[in-house]
């Protein structure tokens, strides 16, 4: 067993760290969210130059053949620095959908543009009434000559605000909530009939609800096999969850760092509050949670590429459950240990806490993944 980074991983982790600490600080980030486009195009371009946008793609397409562990290394830094760029939606989600199901033409066209930093994408898998059940799809497509006409709504799409193209799950046959009969379509975000309700999420990253009203797409917009998208959707969501959990871990590390530092410098009753045993124990719990979460994040990243849906799903659901509970509770402790300061928006703690909340909920909350783990483990 080896839980360490390879030499290469150390290298790109370090250069990413450097890039993000040079280009980001609290003020820069908040200005981007409050008055700007919600991300930095310069940083995105720098990602392209560093090859980060090429990381998971095959070498013959200009990529580096990276694994989900490589993605984890990147995502941890994105979380630690609260980077706003749509890496997970574009590279991890759309990237894996294209890799898993794309035609040669789709791959050649789109992956090259992702790698060069000229194309941002998002994947829309949930709907206003579906909660976390990705099979609960009411958005429909009907064939019309050589085209399809799509109508329906997709909810809380990460990176949906910035995406040039959106991969949408659509019911082409079967009953609502059936895993059969689902198809992925690549839709141009500016196509006629597409409208977006865009917003900032808790952590400042952008998202959107996407409404499709009689959107006409050619048959070549179908990604993968008609009616057979379910396994691809699951795999993409697992990749996304693994990456978001890694981001959360990076943020978690900062939550603990900030809190430990505060325990040392804040004095009450004539001593640092870190001298109070009850606070020491809370802090120790936070570190215990962090270390165990880290182990599970390693596991889910190592399994996220697996074609074995059950093995992969169990690993990813484990991490979602563990971070969703332990990380959540640690965030509450972190605020508590800070007292009033932990409540202020000016202090950065809340930004990390909110970043972790996004990872906790998107693609399924604790209850969702508990049930999923149970189904994958105890039923066959």
């Amino acid at each position: 067993m080896d839980f360490g980074y390879s030499e290469e991983q150390v290298l790109f982790s370090n250069s990413l760290q450097k890039l993000l600490s040079d280009s980001y600080n609290v003020d820069v980030r908040r200005a981007l969210v409050e008055d700007g486009p919600g991300y930095s195009e310069d940083v995105w371009k720098a990602f392209a130059e560093m090859g980060l946008l090429a990381l998971p793609f095959p070498e013959d397409m200009g990529g580096f053949d990276g694994t989900s562990v490589d993605t984890m290394v990147v995502a941890i830094e994105l979380g630690r620095h609260l980077a706003l760029e749509p890496y997970v939606p574009t590279v991890v989600m759309a990237g894996s959908a294209l890799k898993l199901a794309g035609s040669d033409a789709q791959k050649t066209d789109l992956i090259a543009k992702i790698i060069s930093g000229d194309l941002k994408m998002a994947v829309a898998l949930t709907e206003p009434g579906s909660r976390f059940d990705m099979a609960d799809v009411t958005t429909r497509a009907v064939a019309n000559g050589d085209d399809y006409i799509i109508s329906g709504s997709k909810s809380v799409v990460l990176g949906g605000d910035l995406a040039d193209k959106i991969i949408v799950s659509v019911r082409t046959s079967g009953d609502t909530r059936s895993e059969d009969g689902l198809t992925l379509f690549i839709v141009d975000a500016n196509a006629d009939g597409v409208s977006r309700e865009t917003y900032s999420l808790l952590d400042g990253r952008g998202g959107a609800d996407i409404h499709l009203e009689n959107v006409r797409v050619p048959a070549s917009a179908v990604l993968g096999t008609l009616d057979q998208a379910w396994s691809v959707m699951e795999h993409v969501a697992d990749q996304a969850s693994a990456a978001l959990c890694a981001e959360s871990l990076g943020a978690f590390e900062k939550v603990n760092e900030l809190t430990l530092e505060y325990l040392k410098v804040r004095e009450q009753f004539g001593r640092p509050i870190g001298k109070f045993q009850v606070l020491q124990h809370h802090m120790a719990d936070m570190v215990i949670e962090y270390e165990h979460a880290r182990s599970l994040v390693c596991q889910s990243s190592m399994k996220a590429d697996s074609e074995d849906a059950a093995e992969r799903g169990k690993a990813v659901s484990s991490t979602k459950v563990y971070l969703g509970e332990g990380g959540h509770k640690s965030c509450q402790s972190a605020i508590q240990l800070h007292g009033g300061i932990g409540m202020t928006a000016e202090y950065e703690l809340g930004d990390f806490v909110k970043r972790m909340a996004i990872s906790e909920v998107l693609f399924g909350d604790v209850d969702h993944h508990l049930v999923r783990f149970g189904k994958l483990s105890y039923l066959d």
Partner: protein
């Protein structure tokens, strides 16, 4: 033993209900249910309705407008108010400084301040905490020095709730540096319009700015604004902080939270059915409802067994458990809302918003409320400090 309210208590409950039905401004209740923010005007209208009925300062002595309610009556009143969505009464005038003045103030102070609290002329805020003095309040440094007929005050207060609305602030100030921390503190009433008082808002992780920093720079305060005796302020502050007998547990507010939670869980759907039918969710909801019942009964026991056991430590227990429940309600409400709790929407929380909110109606307030409620285990004596009280005064450890 008897779990039932007496006939008189039930009659009182009816009286309160009738009053609320006739006099409580419905639009304020609508705001509460929609999770919108109150304006200071809303608070004023509610206070005026109570005032007109003689119910604005129930805990005061009768000669100053109090009602002489039993603790159970006071509790029934709170519960009924929350049930219709009445705002939590801004406590600073009516519940905090008012009782200090009725107990320790001079006749002149009673005459000047008490009616002004009731008719809304004076809106108070509480200047206790300082950047360096939170849990260790007695280490406060804001200094008041007598110069002729005036105290000259220098220092900084922080976390001052409602200072943006208030025109008066009651402060703990250091008047003696030669003695033990607790023995050199005085209780001073300061007109916020006095030159040298500056208020700066603090934005919280909820997105709201309900608290402020208050800077005091050579603020000249008439000598007669000191309450009671010089250097005795700590005693009055302890009285003020311990004066709240009812309402600590927040049972009434908890019941209103529970109603809202169930409403959300009936609207939200999971696996094609209302969320409230999901067994995992039910388990969480049941646990919360059971804990609320335990709190309610414990609160009633405390109210009815006055003098039995140690009320100080009992109050700490109720504060700890009540504040945790407030947090858990907001947490489960957010959880029930799912991914639609993730868009950060401040606009829909404003009363005059007429845009379209993202997701279902109940979504926008969820995350702000969840983050706001983290405060409940920090202020009013943090959970850790309350547990220190229990271990010392009840358990003798």
């Amino acid at each position: 033993m008897d779990l039932n309210y007496s006939a008189e208590e039930e009659a009182f409950r009816q009286e309160v209900r009738t009053f609320l039905k006739e006099k409580f401004p419905q639009d304020i209740g609508d705001k509460t249910r929609a999770g919108k923010r109150y304006s200071n005007v809303d608070n004023g209208r509610w206070q005026a309705a109570l005032y007109a009925n003689g119910w604005d300062v129930p805990s005061w002595p009768v000669e100053h407008g109090g009602t002489n309610w039993t603790p159970v009556q006071a509790d029934i009143f709170d519960e009924e108010c929350f049930a219709v969505g009445a705002p939590r009464m801004v406590p600073f005038g009516t519940r905090l400084v008012g009782p200090v003045i009725t107990n320790f103030g001079s006749d002149a102070q009673k005459k000047k301040y008490l009616p002004a609290i009731r008719n809304g002329d004076h809106f108070w805020c509480q200047g206790f905490s300082e950047p360096g003095a939170g849990s260790d309040l007695a280490s406060l440094k804001t200094r008041a020095v007598l110069d002729g007929d005036e105290w000259v005050v220098n220092g900084q207060k922080t976390w001052t709730s409602s200072a943006q609305y208030a025109n008066w602030i009651f402060c703990l100030v250091r008047t003696n540096t030669e003695v033990k921390n607790q023995e050199g503190i005085s209780f001073l009433l300061i007109d916020m319009a006095t030159p040298g008082v500056t208020v700066r808002p603090i934005v919280l992780i909820s997105g709201e700015a309900p608290v402020n920093e208050v800077f005091l720079e050579d603020v000249r305060v008439p000598k007669e604004n000191l309450v009671g005796e010089v250097d005795m302020g700590w005693t009055y502050a302890k009285f003020l902080l311990g004066n709240e007998r009812t309402g600590i547990a927040g049972v009434g507010a908890g019941k209103a939270d529970l109603v809202e939670l169930k409403r959300i869980a009936r609207v939200e759907r999971k696996n094609g059915k209302p969320m409230i039918e999901d067994p995992l969710f039910q388990a969480r909801l049941s646990r919360l409802e059971i804990d609320l019942k335990a709190l309610e009964l414990t609160n009633m026991r405390m109210l009815s067994e006055v003098g039995d056991g140690n009320p100080g430590a009992f109050a700490s227990m109720l504060k700890i458990r009540g504040s945790e429940l407030q947090q858990r309600f907001s947490e489960l409400q957010m959880e029930a809302t799912g991914a639609y709790a993730l868009p950060w929407q401040q606009g829909p929380l404003e009363a005059d918003w007429n845009g379209k909110a993202v997701g279902p109606d109940h979504a926008a307030p969820r995350a702000p409320l969840y983050y706001d409620r983290r405060k409940t285990t920090i202020y009013g004596g943090s959970t850790e400090v309350q547990k220190n009280i229990i271990t010392k005064s009840l358990l003798g450890l």
